[in-house]
């Protein structure tokens, strides 16, 4: 089955304004230029944006779409705006999750929606610095977009574009701050002073995902009422989802919150049998069985009921043509190599987990029939890192052991399965170990 590289799901009656963020975004092509953007949405008069935008965001019920699902208005209100040091706004497009492409899609195709949102945040918070933080491959396009706005004098506060290293954790909030301050892009200890109080250059800092900012740009224009016209009462609005495994190549979709996943995916109960299971939320998310997947709605609350998360909106279907345990082992290795080499339980725990999960996939005899050591390692690691990176890996592994329980039992009893050399399905980027530098210095 093939589908265009980009599509969206439109739900409900006409007039419900879907798609929103992806309106006028063609399946292929370049960025929507500034003129077209202004024609499409109208000019956002940033001089008239003030703190009342925060009230509007509160009424809209908008939550963050970077994976944490935190209410945006609450986050903005927590930014210290009264001190002597004016806040910094960071549009976070680092998107380290290999199974997600929605932020890159927004940035390459409709960059001005994101930039409108960043500028609106700066206006509402009285920020004096705005940074657009994106992977190196996207900086050129963003600089052009920023330049086009500069010529028009659209933004009261200058925007800088800075590049994020290609690694899983570079988008973590305190890692973003470290990167912008010229230190390595790894998380730091924020237990005493969170980023919202003391972030970039010691200033109060708002780090907000780029999709979230794109929603802000529309709420600033059309209001909370408009935003709530789709989605559910409790979970209003729309979200971007990166779906893989259903069509040839990943597809980014926009859908209203609360939509049953079976409708989003166009899956009947019978078609569900074509897949072995599904990963929600990406490599720090969790696996669900196909019958479970067909029960989940597109809300974070629904995903959490099944011990997983929507994360940054990732849904990946796993076909029967691969060994799920080999797929899991590859991802765990990737995640192990992406830890920042800072925290003992994460460094040692993920190394041990990587080895154990690799054994389960490829040399199960060495586990002597027991999966328990893997689960014990999970318990030992959970909640004990400086950031949530190890917790995500633990959720990924625990859920795999339960959803693929039959495969685990078969491996332990009979050895690796015949699909051992099937071509990989879950994307593993070419990576340099995030802690390679640390390894080298410590082994000297």
């Amino acid at each position: 089955m093939t589908a265009p590289a980009l599509t969206w799901h439109s739900h409900g009656a006409p007039g419900e304004q879907m798609p929103r963020l992806l309106a006028d975004v063609e399946p292929t092509g370049g960025a929507i230029a500034l003129d077209e953007h202004l024609e499409q949405w109208g000019v956002l008069d940033l001089r008239r944006v003030g703190v009342d935008l925060v009230d509007e965001l509160e009424a809209s019920g908008l939550v963050g779409h970077g994976g944490a699902w935190f209410p945006v208005a609450t986050k903005w209100r927590s930014i210290g705006t009264r001190g002597a040091r004016r806040p910094v706004v960071v549009a976070n497009g680092a998107e380290g999750e290999p199974a997600s492409s929605k932020d890159a899609l927004l940035l390459t195709r409709t960059p001005h929606l994101v930039l409108d949102g960043a500028s609106a945040a700066a206006a509402a918070l009285g920020a004096s610095r705005v940074v657009i933080y994106v992977p190196a491959r996207l900086t050129h396009g963003m600089e052009r977009a920023v330049e086009a706005r500069r010529r028009r004098g659209l933004d009261p506060v200058e925007m800088e574009v800075m590049s994020a290293p290609d690694a899983f954790i570079t988008g973590q909030e305190s890692a973003v701050v470290s990167a912008l301050d010229g230190r390595p892009a790894v998380p730091s200890f924020v237990g005493l002073q969170p980023v919202r109080v003391r972030g970039v250059a010691g200033r109060p800092t708002l780090v907000q995902n780029v999709e979230t900012l794109a929603h802000v740009a529309l709420i600033a224009r059309f209001g909370a009422q408009w935003f709530r016209a789709i989605g559910t009462e409790q979970f209003p609005g729309s979200m971007l989802v990166t779906l893989s495994g259903r069509y040839a190549g990943p597809v980014v979709m926009e859908a209203p919150l609360g939509l049953p996943l079976r409708d989003l995916l166009g899956l009947s109960r019978a078609a569900g049998n074509d897949y072995r299971g599904a990963l929600l939320g990406g490599y720090g998310g969790g696996w669900v069985s196909m019958p479970t997947l067909l029960e989940v709605d597109l809300t974070e609350a629904s995903a959490r009921m099944w011990n997983t998360t929507l994360g940054a909106g990732v849904v990946a279907l796993l076909p029967h043509s691969v060994c799920p345990l080999v797929e899991v082992a590859r991802v765990v290795r990737y995640m192990e190599r992406q830890q920042a080499g800072q925290c003992g339980p994460c460094v040692h725990g993920l190394a041990a987990l990587d080895e154990a999960v690799r054994c389960l996939a490829l040399q199960p005899a060495s586990l002597r029939g027991r999966v328990e050591p893997i689960l014990e390692l999970c318990a030992l690691i959970d909640g004990r890192g400086g950031c949530r990176h190890p917790d995500g890996v633990v959720r990924f592994v625990r859920s795999a052991c339960s959803v693929f329980g039959d495969e685990v039992a078969t491996h332990l009893r009979h050895g690796p399965c015949r699909l051992i050399d099937a071509a990989p399905v879950l994307p593993i980027p070419h990576f340099r170990s995030a802690h390679a530098a640390t390894d080298r210095t410590s082994s000297r």
């Binding site: 730091s188 200890f189 925290c343 003992g344 339980p345 994460c346 040692h348």
Partner: protein, 70 residues
């Protein structure tokens, strides 16, 4: 609302030599790699002195007593 005191550890700094577990065994044990496993629950008055001593003695200043209102 009441004042709650608990231990928080800066994992990015702690090097796991375990002095804190020696000083405050009531609430800190060590994992197989030597890093502290900390019971994050409220610390009762009777144990506050031990907790304070452990936090003060950490050679890397990685262990903090945090007061919050709950």
């Amino acid at each position: 609302m009441k004042r709650v005191v608990s231990l928080v550890i800066d994992r990015t700094t702690c090097d796991g030599r375990g002095l804190c577990a020696e000083l405050f065994p009531e609430r800190i044990e060590l994992d197989p790699w030597g890093y502290p496993i900390i019971d994050g629950d409220e610390i009762p008055r009777s144990l506050l002195d031990h907790a304070r001593r452990a936090a003060r003695s950490c050679p890397l200043l990685a262990l903090h007593l945090i007061e919050s209102r709950q």
